[in-house]
Symmetry: C2
Subunit: 478 residues, 2 copies
């Protein structure tokens, strides 16, 4: 077999990169659990008709076929209700899981879900065909109070803040509200709300003049209506002033409606709570239009400060109908972190690194193959007290065994005491191969310093700011 | 959308079942890391020609196609080097990863890998189309000493022993060695070793008389040769006596060869080490023939005691050529735990349960929606000290809020002190809803007892044996 080459769009990490990804996943999981979210995992596949239910062919679904299935002979294989595809997000499977298990779940149901998803799109920087998402959602049976739309982005703010000590940049969570946009546009007299949103969504790309033309052509807007829509899109801020500015703009254009006022009350509550609980993180940005065509209330996007061109690393919003079985409607609100996009930037930009590439804190040297059992016994004694350890692969010269540890970043090498002439054994010794210091040690009591016990994930560039030992966290399960 | 029904062969768990699975995964991961294995994750797909390289069509590979790909117009779609399939195990992807990254890995390379795999087989009890495997392997560049064939099953014995406290039955790891079998058969004069192995593999199903006929028909064995093969298959034991019995049998039938002696030395070393480090767990069983056609040394299968009909939950062996790039050959030895099979039995047989279905130890009650911010602040203070907590969904009557906690198994409900008439607040109170005991509490200092902090995974049936509190482990990241 010739040396294989990577598949574009299917990222994989070397062991030290995987340590960084695993640390990110552990940190997210722990934060979600501290906030009372229960973890679930769904199968990777869904019936194709469910995946395509909302016309999601733009997601480029991967369809499965068993190799030995005779497609021509099997009419079922062409039936979208029988064909299976890989899920392209965790929302469609979660909605299905809720309907399937509604009788066994207690609502409002808080769940997190961390899994791979697949999209057959053209790979680009930060856009993969296989990637990991970390989602949280709260779903209600029949009703879901607005306060969850305040809570969920703050959970994500907490989760992302927990990654700052390893060298992740600050984040900014941009929020908007469907009711504000729709209430304002309808107040102006524009009834094709989705057409307005599609035009506004192009603002960053084509600029205000072209958007004004689009608003006229696509949504039938007059010059004054287009001007008002563009003025709304300029409103941005992290305090109650945002609500005042929108309200004044609506009054100026005679665009005040009950729906607008409802939306502003919600947006104001979110901004106020965020100012207290995650100052500077949440920003109301009325230009955000992506997702407002399917979300029914709040909508969220998140940028890494200094890496805005990467696109959103955490998005979501409120659905009045996440799922429905006819008898009951299940509204939900949730956000999804693009873990692979985030980790690939952390690694690719050299922001974060692992202190070593293997779990072992100690390599137990082997004096001779006959005495390997003694080295194994030392390793077992250390592991029993929670010290990760491996035994040298061969009874090579000690210099070679030390190089074996050094190449992996293993900080300590353990030497088992030699048998003496009169049946007495010399004491074991342990060497810190960084300093060269070697001291007598007992496998029943010796423990490495806490910072050496497990590989840690730390900022790569000390120049990014002051980083003390408290900023470093162990990467393995404690 | 009508209520969906489960897909046969694609298991999913309710949140309390997922807690059990997550605990199993965390425990395996921790054990693997204590033994110095580095975690990696590979993409879910491999080129179809790689998946089919060893004629593995029996594994019923799932082939992928992008929905919008025009299969007829695209000749590439028919080229097995361009088509992608879902991996059916973690060995093929690991071999590819080693070749692709050989320049960046230090050998011998110890890795663990815990991921889903897919096989389009007919679903049965314990046999799924999508399931999780947990693999460990050591791979060398050019050479790999035998002692790893002793070490790896003992790592798995350690990992599976770490699950005993939650109620998992004991395991028995059955081992055999290709060199023993092949050396013995060749010593007898039987040259079609694979035909002998295929016949012996049917022993449990069809019995010795039919196998004797098969050996004659398929491998050209005489009556005496068949008798010797069947006698070898009867040898079983967990001490050095096994080696003596095989050696005596070979002498009796004139079947002694250098290859047999080499295999017996290996098998003897494994049994001796196991007797010391995991007494009673590892059993040499010369009847094991599955896998001996592709493994080149040791081979392992593992049964759950009392659940033998479930089949092996942890299998593997030694490959002299796990991978090769022409210049270098990479031998390896590894084992794979069928996590889904194991967890589905633990849950299905009611052996194991989680103490609650949500992470939260505390529900903070809400007195009125106006005062939700105070409940949020209490929750934040508790979380900052590592207590998992959620806030009540609505300011319902306290009785209803307590029932909300009770339904989820949340043990504590927190009541925020009311403002007094003169601007003084009464102290907060926390109620253990199991005992009804309610005491004053401060969110800056109160902590629940350790056994209530996180959901725990515990044996379901106390009747299975004496189980003390020390047998119960937290299920979340500490």
């Amino acid at each position: 077999m010739a040396r294989p080459t990577p598949l574009s769009g299917f990222p994989e990490w070397l062991p030290d990169g995987r340590l960084v990804e695993q640390h990110v996943l552990d940190t997210l999981r722990r934060t979600f659990e501290l906030h009372g979210f229960a973890g679930i995992e769904t199968r990777a596949v869904e019936p194709l008709d469910q995946l395509l239910r909302k016309g999601e062919t733009s997601k480029e679904v991967y369809v499965l076929r068993r190799l030995q299935e005779d497609a021509d002979a099997d009419a079922d294989a062409q039936d979208p209700g029988r064909r299976l595809g890989l899920h392209f997000d965790l929302t469609v499977p979660f909605a299905r899981y809720v309907l399937e298990n509604a009788g066994h779940l207690a609502f409002p149901f808080r769940r997190y879900q961390i899994q791979k998803v697949w999209r057959g799109e053209r790979p680009q920087d930060g856009r993969f065909r296989e990637f990991v998402q970390a989602d949280i959602d709260v779903v209600g049976a029949g009703a879901l109070p607005y306060h969850y739309e305040v809570e969920l982005p703050l959970v994500m703010a907490d989760a992302l803040a927990a990654l700052r000590p390893i060298g992740m940049p600050a984040v900014r969570i941009l929020v908007n509200n469907r009711k504000v946009a729709e209430g304002f546009y309808r107040g102006l007299g524009l009834t094709d709300v989705d057409a307005v949103l599609r035009s506004i969504d192009k603002l960053d790309k084509v600029g205000p003049e072209v958007v004004a033309e689009l608003l006229a052509a696509e949504a039938g807007a007059t010059g004054a209506q287009a001007e008002a829509c563009l003025a709304l899109a300029e409103v941005r801020g992290d305090d109650a002033g945002v609500v005042d500015r929108v309200r004044a703009l609506a009054a100026e254009h005679g665009a005040t409606t009950d729906l607008l006022e409802e939306g502003l009350a919600e947006l104001g509550a979110l901004v106020a709570a965020a100012a207290e609980r995650a100052p500077g993180v949440v920003v109301a940005d009325l230009r955000i239009a992506r997702g407002l065509d399917y979300y029914t209330g709040s909508v969220y996007e998140t940028v890494l400060v200094g890496h805005e061109e990467l696109g959103s690393i955490c998005s979501g919003g409120r659905y009045d109908t996440l799922a429905s079985d006819g008898a009951t409607t299940y509204p939900g609100v949730g956000l999804s972190i693009g873990v692979s996009r985030l980790v690939s930037r952390l690694l690719g930009a050299g922001l974060v690194r692992a202190t070593r590439s293997v779990p072992s804190a100690v390599l137990v040297a082997v004096t001779s193959e006959d005495r390997r059992g003694r080295s194994d016994a030392v390793a077992a004694a250390l592991r029993a007290r929670g010290v990760p350890v491996e035994v040298a692969p061969s009874a090579a010269k000690f210099g070679k065994q030390i190089r074996h540890a050094d190449r992996r970043g293993i900080p300590y090498v353990w030497f088992v005491g030699e048998d003496g002439a009169e049946g007495q054994s010399a004491a074991d010794q342990v060497k810190d191969i960084r300093s060269g210091e070697q001291v007598p040690a007992d496998a029943g009591t010796w423990t490495p310093p806490a910072e050496d016990l497990w590989p840690r994930v730390v900022p790569s560039r000390r120049a990014d700011g002051p980083v003390g030992p408290s900023a470093e966290r162990p990467t393995a399960l404690a």
